[in-house]
């Protein structure tokens, strides 16, 4: 029995038991449902083994939306707890667990897969490629991310959630102060997902550098592709730091090494430093693709070329370089001295300059444009002022002397939500609405979509602006309650109401998907938004091979110029197309990774060794496997093309 004690929840509560039952029932329902509709074969052939970048993209999207709701429920619980003073809804331990998982889930398992969805679905289409450079590796990336996310998510029903904050600072996250396996989950689940992300980075850099359509020069790439390139470069340079960091943390917790201990020569500050050496570039990994999406959307619906293309590219390059030189601004108060603080203060403020360049470029793109207020554009219009507000409070926080007042208060919480929600989340939802017709062949309802945007902004402002004020008044972050005498109560209630309105807007998004599946017209053609880049030049739904004939590109806005000047992008005859084969190996190997991670978390060494050998076995199998892909014959392509053309 002793063996099984380790799986028990250290701080059980009714909510956790209820979730256990809910998870169990949902699991059974899903399995029964798939069996009843006889979809196992379909699921295996078309999804679990696929190497098609579009399908992998859609799987990223589904995971991101699921995680958005998990993280969202966490957020509502946090705000509910703080809504009234001395609340008894969550105890301190549960509050710690909820804000920790909220942070990790939202950043690593919601925002990251969401941008991965855009990388996967959009980039190969935008550059006129048939797939990514390494389709099999792409599947491995997805499945490793997915298994990492699942591993992290089971923590609250098996063994206990991590509770040391998403930053997981030592010594708090060490064995002395975090006795449950929660922090093991943190170290190992993120490690597995992180390896997947690193591979995505390598894959997309190679894709973008080497697989562009004939004629497309680097300085003619669409802005989203540029942002994806820069973002992936940051991934490749930042994620190895995380790999080392998490390995060190794992060893401290499992093997009693002395990296981040107080005595024996350990250095707990090294965790904080290395965490942010990865962590700060990480936020730019998220925000740059968001900028890229807004660039596409704003120029499409202002019906103008993007203003300042070169300065857009240059500013992203500068941001990516600077993102590696600002990490210490996350702990100005932790005693590194005036000189270091000044340095990081200045670099942090400097990063506002290229960001400002981008804001002005978007404004100048709108200037004299024939603006069309579609739902994606409405998100962009809400993004501009709200994000600028978040940026300005960021500059306030960058002043190291003043930071002693703001540090670890709700002011900081308000600031980073103010850049992440209007920046990343709005971009993701705008992009989702924008690319929805390309994925599924019908549009999301515009009226419901606009309601969603307005409700979300209303909710956002009510939820987060009050936090700036309570933060300046001294309300600390991560505190599970406060007394009536502090006077924080009314504004926290407002914030709770705001969070509720945001929840309604997300529910409306779900309703919109349901409504549009049922009622949206299906005859929308290939280019419903009258857009500018190559992904809109191919058919909807996009055929497996993306483009029957490789597009010839002469300008930045290839498709727009082709429409306007009437020249041909698709010149030449249809030839047989080489495509990669599907493979079950990425899925199987990632499942073994899941078992490996699980056995490491609970220190079940025999199973850990067996599963590690299993992973190595998969690698050996792959090395000896002969896989030359397959060809789609010309007749089949012509058939598909006629059918897709006829469908319009």
């Amino acid at each position: 029995m002793d063996f099984f004690n380790r799986f028990a929840i250290p701080h059980p509560s009714f909510l956790i038991y209820a979730s256990m039952v809910a998870i169990g029932l949902t699991g059974i329902a899903v399995i029964l449902g798939i069996t009843y509709f006889k979809k196992w074969g379909y699921l295996w052939r078309e999804w679990l083994t696929t190497v098609d970048h579009k399908r992998i993209g859609i799987m990223y999207l589904i995971s991101a939306l699921l995680m958005l709701f998990r993280g969202g429920v966490d957020a509502i619980m946090l705000r509910a707890q703080l809504a009234i003073p001395d609340n008894k809804f969550l105890e301190s331990q549960h509050y710690n667990e909820v804000f920790t998982t909220h942070g990790v889930v939202m950043i690593l398992f919601m925002a990251m897969p969401f941008i991965m969805f855009f990388f996967n679905f959009v980039v190969p289409l935008q550059i006129g490629a048939r797939d990514v450079a390494f389709p099999r590796l792409n599947a491995i990336s997805f499945w490793l991310f997915f298994m990492g996310a699942m591993l992290f998510n089971i923590s609250f029903v098996i063994g206990g959630s991590p509770d040391a904050g998403w930053t997981s600072y030592f010594p708090l996250a060490g064995n002395d102060f975090s006795t449950s396996v929660g922090s093991n989950y943190y170290m190992i689940a993120i490690q597995i997902a992180g390896i997947g992300t690193l591979m995505t980075g390598i894959n997309f850099i190679t894709t973008i550098f080497k697989m562009r359509a004939p004629g497309m020069k680097l300085m003619q790439m669409p802005m989203f592709t540029w942002s994806a390139l820069i973002s992936n470069l940051i991934i490749v340079f930042a994620f190895p730091v995380l790999t080392v960091l998490l390995a060190m943390g794992t060893m401290d917790r499992l093997f009693d090494t002395k990296f981040f201990t107080i005595g024996d020569g350990g250095s707990d500050m090294l965790w904080a430093n290395l965490f942010w050496v990865w962590g700060h570039p990480e936020v730019y990994i998220l925000i740059l693709p968001a900028f890229g999406l807004f660039s596409e959307i704003i120029s499409t619906f202002a019906r103008r070329n993007l203003y300042g293309y070169k300065s857009m590219v240059a500013s992203m390059v500068v941001i990516s370089a600077f993102s590696f030189f600002v990490w210490a601004h996350h702990f100005f108060t932790m005693g590194q001295g005036a000189l270091a603080n000044s340095f990081f203060s200045i670099t942090t403020m400097a990063i506002a300059v290229p960001t400002g360049v981008k804001i002005f470029n978007w404004l100048f793109t709108l200037w004299k444009g024939k603006i069309e207020f579609t739902t994606p554009m409405l998100y962009a219009m809400h993004f501009l002022p709200l994000f600028t507000l978040g940026g300005v409070t960021g500059v306030m926080l960058a002043m190291s002397a003043a930071d002693y007042q703001y540090h670890n208060t709700m002011f900081l919480v308000a600031h980073f939500h103010n850049v992440i929600i209007p920046g990343v989340v709005y971009a993701m939802l705008a992009g989702l609405t924008y690319y929805w017709p390309k994925m599924f062949g019908f549009m999301l309802n515009e009226r419901i979509g606009k309601w969603t945007v307005w409700l979300m902004s209303t909710g956002f402002i009510l939820a987060f602006i009050p936090m700036y004020i309570t933060g300046l008044d001294g309300q600390a972050r991560r505190m599970y309650t406060y007394s009536e005498a502090t006077g924080f109560a009314p504004l926290n209630m407002v914030a709770f109401i705001g969070a509720g309105i945001m929840a309604i807007s997300f529910a409306l998004l779900v309703y919109n998907i349901y409504y549009s599946v049922r009622y949206s017209p299906r005859n929308i053609g290939n280019d419903p938004w009258n857009a500018r880049t190559l992904e809109w030049a191919t058919h909807t739904p996009v055929p497996e091979y993306n483009f029957a004939v490789m597009p010839q590109v002469k300008s930045t806005e290839a498709f727009w110029d082709a429409k306007k000047h009437g020249h041909e992008i698709f010149k030449g005859k249809i030839e047989k197309i080489h495509m990669p084969n599907s493979s079950g190996l990425p899925f199987i190997m990632s499942c073994i990774f899941f078992v490996f991670g699980f056995s490491m978390i609970f220190s079940i060494w025999p199973l850990a060794i067996i599963s590690l050998l299993g992973i190595l076995g998969c690698l050996v199998y792959r090395s000896f496997e002969k896989d030359h892909g397959h060809y789609i014959p010309v007749e089949e392509i012509e058939d598909t093309e006629t059918k897709l053309r006829g469908a319009k």
């Binding site: 690193l198 390598i202 190679t206 190895p240 730091v241 790999t243 080392v244 020569g265 090294l270």
Partner: protein
Amino acid sequence: MKIDHSLPLEYSTEENRLKIFGFWIFLGAEIMLFATLFTSYFVYEHRSGNGPSGAEIFELSPVLMETILLLASSFTIGLGIHAMRLGKQKAMMAFFAVTLVLGLGFLGFEIFEFTTYIHEGAGITTSGFTSMLLTTLGTHGLHVTFGFFWGLAILLQVKKRGLTPETANKSFIFSLYWHFLDVVWIFIFSFIYLKGMM
């Protein structure tokens, strides 16, 4: 699969060129990985707590042997790739085999070195310094171990399938990896051992 005969075998197809390019990017990530390890090592260099310091445990002779073996293996794999370019499969395989044997020798000395450290009371749990030292060396050692089995798998494939664009590509990428480990070792030798002994 289109084969371009004007290029060396390992570059001859589109897929091969992509793989080599991608592997260079991967090596970029590996540089960051080891850079993080080195930076952390410098943080812990003098944080030895109650445990021994570097000067007390480092010994020149095993380290020198490891250096000679690994540098020699980098040379032989270079000869192996040269033989591959000339289309001499037997010579190439012989050089690869020598490389792997040298790698194995390196690992033997490293294991000996580690056991000595542990006997001298410098285990992985002793202090911040020993934790970091053994992690940095161990990460490199694990790379060499992984490389040994990877190289073995490639050797078997070359034996079975001959020099095709695929096997040549794999061998070439493996040689990049192996040279990279050598470069990392030079940094380990200079900035961990020599600096620690001075």
